[in-house]
């Protein structure tokens, strides 16, 4: 590990067992689909066989009559199911804003189905097989409409229109693309600074390239699930695997048109999300089925439904033009990115735009982003949403520039690298960032210095950036009489955050990790907490427990001041968790260990209970650089990864094992995007590969060991220097691998994935 000016920590940087670990290796942990309630019914969902169609009629009577069926619902049951508040049904659309109706229609289709797999009706029955039988008895009459699944096609004049009321909105100053024509362009944004014409005029070399990428799915192994019970008193309990219990609660209340306080979400353990478990899908359906049947209803998706109907990432079209002088200095950049949002507006193009040029100092730049609706599932966030596509395009052009200038690709990047004080694309100066540290560590890494040999073997590099999120988090803590601490967390734990947050509380208080007992709780039992996503959980969760720690310290000092009968100003709380006062009149030391003082709390005013909510915007932006060696098989078109190294500025690695794990997991997903994964649609807009067999994610023998080197440039905006780490590593793999494939076989690719078929097409 390369560390710059890191304080000495006792617990941070160690690798303790996670508190939820034993339950997870013994099969006892309760994930969403594991819940069992008395009288439980099982749900199933009827999905659209068409990519785009009007629903003329739905007849559910035969399904309702089937033995063992307790409830059948359609969109009509969803809207207006609330008893007290009517759902918003505003038809009028503000530019760039989603219609409130769309939230409900994306759960259960309204007048139209907008993609193959769009939910149309749902059933609750005694068991899952009966529920599935009932689906076959539902008669839906469709009028098939022309469809469009390709992002470039969807922007053409005369393309099939998904939402006749949609008009292009404006999200950034400077351009007005508002018009009166029907369009699939949901919004346009532009970031602009300097003077690109002057910039390009000053360039000695300008390269412009176009790129496209397919749709990728997050591929979490646990399908979406939700169990709901709508009680006769109107209270709705929902057990679900979600990345954000509060977000799921609020979104469900909105769709059902009930007050937020009527809904309680109990987050279950979650089997992966990567952004895909931020939106709700089944929660409102299960709730309404429960209301109709007066029984708890459990639903989970089959894998095909997960692929068909939960958010993949956007397909993309990119055009990137970069001008440089002969010494490699970038004089101007102009980029256009269009991303497919799926059936409803809201692709991650905005984030992609902001990330595209983030590694570099570029005075003259214009970046346009277009959000395009088309007949595919509504996209949702997927790890660094938007960034892999836009940075892939930029890093690919950078590689071609380095080649033409005959420069080392890392040197080209070092000439232009963003540093503290440089303005980013939004015009804000960077705080302390580690982009340069990462590039320097790449350059001196043994992998980069090693020789590569062999036929059709190549090496590539690229770097990647992601902002990392701040946002609101809440926690509470109680000090018990023996000094152990119950810690209540609002963030669901998707991969070790109970550990990383507890470690930060232990460090703050100078107590042991083992004496902290963390627990993730429901939405009624802790303050609002934003999603586990955006690489924010260890950052924001750490901030909150740091604040809790300060509150506990102050309270401990005040109790000692009572016992010793001296002013609190004379008492200090040491790093070891000892409360120390001045010697008494007889010269005896005054000191309590944390646990000693805890044993006196009940006699001095009661046990300590504190809670805190905070929202910090000082998250640290982060960079990673990847190096790959690979070999292309000219007979099969298959690319084999021989060696992979990721170097990343992680701020401070709280639990290094989980930091490495995040980076390795991100690489594996990025390798899947680069080489293999993609959605296939047939000419009718049907998803053709909705299974793990056909949408093939990397398996153990597709990958070598993935080497991780952590660079630690502490984030000055966090008490322990934490930067988010989870998303950065999915950004560099596509360009890294593309650049290496060129090195291996001399072919430049302009589409990802570079699947064996596409490689063969180029070679044959």
């Amino acid at each position: 590990m390369v560390a710059t000016g890191k304080p000495q920590y006792k617990i941070i940087g160690t690798r303790p067992r996670r508190p939820d670990g034993v339950d997870k290796v013994t099969g006892r942990a309760q994930y969403g689909a594991d819940i069992k309630l008395e009288g439980l019914l099982y749900g199933a969902v009827l999905r659209s066989p068409h990519a785009h169609a009007l629903i003329k009629s739905i007849d559910t009577s035969k399904a309702e009559a089937l033995d063992g069926v307790h409830a059948v619902i359609t969109n009509a049951d969803l809207v207006g199911s609330g008893q007290t508040v009517q759902p918003a049904t505003a038809e009028a659309l503000e530019p760039g804003k989603a219609s409130p109706r769309w939230a409900a229609e994306s759960i259960l289709a309204g007048p139209k189905v907008l993609y193959h797999g769009h939910a149309v009706a749902a059933v609750a029955a005694d068991d899952v097989h009966i529920a599935q039988d009932a689906l076959e008895l539902i008669d839906v009459e469709y009028e098939i409409l022309p469809h469009v699944v390709d992002v470039q096609d969807a922007m053409l004049d005369g393309a099939p229109i998904l939402h006749p009321q949609l008009r292009t909105g404006v999200r950034a100053a400077g351009v007005d693309t508002r018009s009166d024509i029907e369009t699939n362009l949901a919004s346009h944004m532009r970031l602009e600074s300097g003077d690109i014409e002057k910039g390009f005029a000053a360039a000695d070399l300008t390269i412009e390239r176009e790129f496209t990428s397919s749709q990728f799915h997050q591929g979490y192994i646990e399908p979406q699930n939700a169990t709901a019970f709508w009680s006769h008193d109107g209270r709705i309990n929902i057990w679900t695997s979600t990345q954000g219990s509060f977000m799921a609660r609020d979104a469900t209340a909105d769709v059902l048109g009930v007050p937020v306080a009527q809904v309680k979400v109990i987050p279950m353990e979650i089997g992966g999300g990567f952004g895909g478990k931020i939106p709700i899908y089944l929660e409102p359906m299960a709730a309404v089925l429960s209301k109709k049947s007066s029984r708890p209803v459990k639903m989970w998706m089959d894998r095909e439904a997960v692929f068909q109907a939960t958010g993949p990432t956007a397909s993309s079209y990119s055009k990137v033009k970069i001008g440089v002088t002969n010494d490699g200095t970038i004089t101007a950049a102009e980029c256009l990115f269009a991303m497919g949002a799926g059936g409803y507006p809201g692709s991650p193009v905005g984030a992609g735009v902001m990330c595209a040029l983030a590694p570099y100092k570029i005075d003259n730049q214009v970046i346009d982003g277009l959000d395009v609706v088309l007949n595919t599932p509504k996209t949702s966030a997927y790890r660094a949403p938007g960034a892999p596509a836009t940075e892939y395009a930029v890093e690919s052009v950078m590689d071609e520039i380095a080649e033409q200038l005959d420069m080392d690709p890392i040197d080209l990047r070092l000439v232009n690298v963003a540093e503290e004080g440089v303005k980013n694309s939004s015009g804000t100066p960077w705080p302390k960032i580690g982009a340069k540290d990462v590039l320097e560590a790449m350059k001196s890494h043994p992998h980069y210095l090693s020789e590569i040999q062999g036929e059709d073997v190549g090496r590539g590099i690229a770097i990647g950036f992601w902002f990392n999120g701040g946002m609101e988090s809440s926690s509470s803590a109680r000090v018990n009489k023996d000094g152990s601490i119950a810690l209540i967390l609002g963030s669901v734990d998707i991969g070790g955050s109970r550990a990383s947050i507890s470690m930060q509380l232990a460090e703050t208080l100078g107590v042991t990790y083992e004496q902290i007992a963390p627990q993730v709780t429901d939405t009624d039992s802790v303050g609002y907490t934003a999603v586990t996503g955006g690489s924010r959980t260890t950052f924001a969760g750490g901030w909150v427990v740091y604040e809790l720690g300060q509150m506990i310290k102050a309270e401990m000092i005040s109790r000692a001041s009572k016992i010793w009968d001296i002013s609190g100003d004379e008492i200090t709380y040491s790093d070891e968790g000892t409360v120390v006062g001045p010697d008494d009149a007889e010269g005896n030391k005054r000191a309590f260990s944390f646990n000693e003082l805890a044993s006196k709390l009940q006699a001095t005013g009661g046990l300590i209970a504190v809670s805190a909510s905070s929202s910090h915007t000082t998250q640290g932006a982060a960079y990673g650089g990847h190096i790959v060696d690979l070999k292309v098989d000219r007979d099969t078109g298959k690319t084999e990864i021989l060696r992979y190294t990721a170097i990343q500025d992680v701020g401070t690695a709280i639990h290094p094992d989980y930091v490495e794990g995040q980076i390795q997991g991100g690489i594996a997903q990025g390798v899947g995007m680069a080489l293999n994964e993609e959605y296939y649609y047939d000419s009718d807009g049907h998803l053709m590969n909705g299974s793990f067999l056909d949408y093939r994610v990397p398996v153990a023998n597709d990958l070598p060991m993935l080497d991780v080197e952590m660079v630690e440039v502490p984030n000055p905006g966090h008490p322990f220097g934490v930067r988010g780490v989870g998303e950065v590593p999915i950004v560099p793999p596509q360009p890294t691998i593309r650049n290496a494939i060129y090195d291996a076989i001399g072919v430049r690719f302009y589409h990802t994935p570079m699947s064996p078929r596409r490689v063969l097409d180029e070679l044959l």
Partner: protein, 156 residues
């Protein structure tokens, strides 16, 4: 229309069990929905992900692809039976200590597959381990720490 339930006699993790199943239940559904043993997970329900892996009469199987009715008279071992009364299995300990799980949904399947691998081949190479475990998907870890853990346990 509802098929007659049927009793299946099996031994699960050493205990004899009678399970009342629907003729259409898979072994995975029988375990999870009929007797509440939810250690085996459903990731795909068609044999592609390995999250539901259990050992049936000494053989590693994906329980979503076995009909419940087929297990009459069989011995089944699930992740719930891996630890002894007082001690975790070394694979469980190593997965924990080496952070071989992030979300953990794949973990029961990987533990059962790794257990079966080490029964069959107590000293596998990295390549053999990667091939054996290729039927188990993990989307979180990139496999490194899982492979390392299995190799560490094999070395003793």
């Amino acid at each position: 229309m509802i098929p007659e339930p049927k009793v299946v006699n099996t031994i699960i993790n050493g205990d004899s069990k009678q399970i009342l199943v629907s003729e259409r239940d898979s072994l995975l559904e029988a375990l999870r929905d009929r007797i509440g043993m939810t250690g085996a997970k459903e990731g795909c329900n068609n044999g592609n992900c390995g999250a539901c892996a259990v050992i049936m009469d000494g053989r590693l199987v994906n329980s979503c692809c076995v009909m419940a009715a087929e297990v009459e008279g069989s011995e089944i071992m699930t992740v719930e039976g891996l630890a002894s009364r007082d001690e975790l299995h070394p694979l469980q300990t190593e997965f924990l200590d080496n952070a071989a799980l992030q979300c953990g949904i794949c973990t029961p399947g990987f533990l059962m597959s790794s257990y079966a691998l080490l029964q069959e081949n107590p000293n596998p190479t990295e390549e053999e381990t990667r091939f054996w475990l290729a039927g188990n998907l993990c989307r979180c870890t990139g496999y490194d720490k899982i492979i390392e853990s299995v190799l560490t346990v094999a070395k003793g």
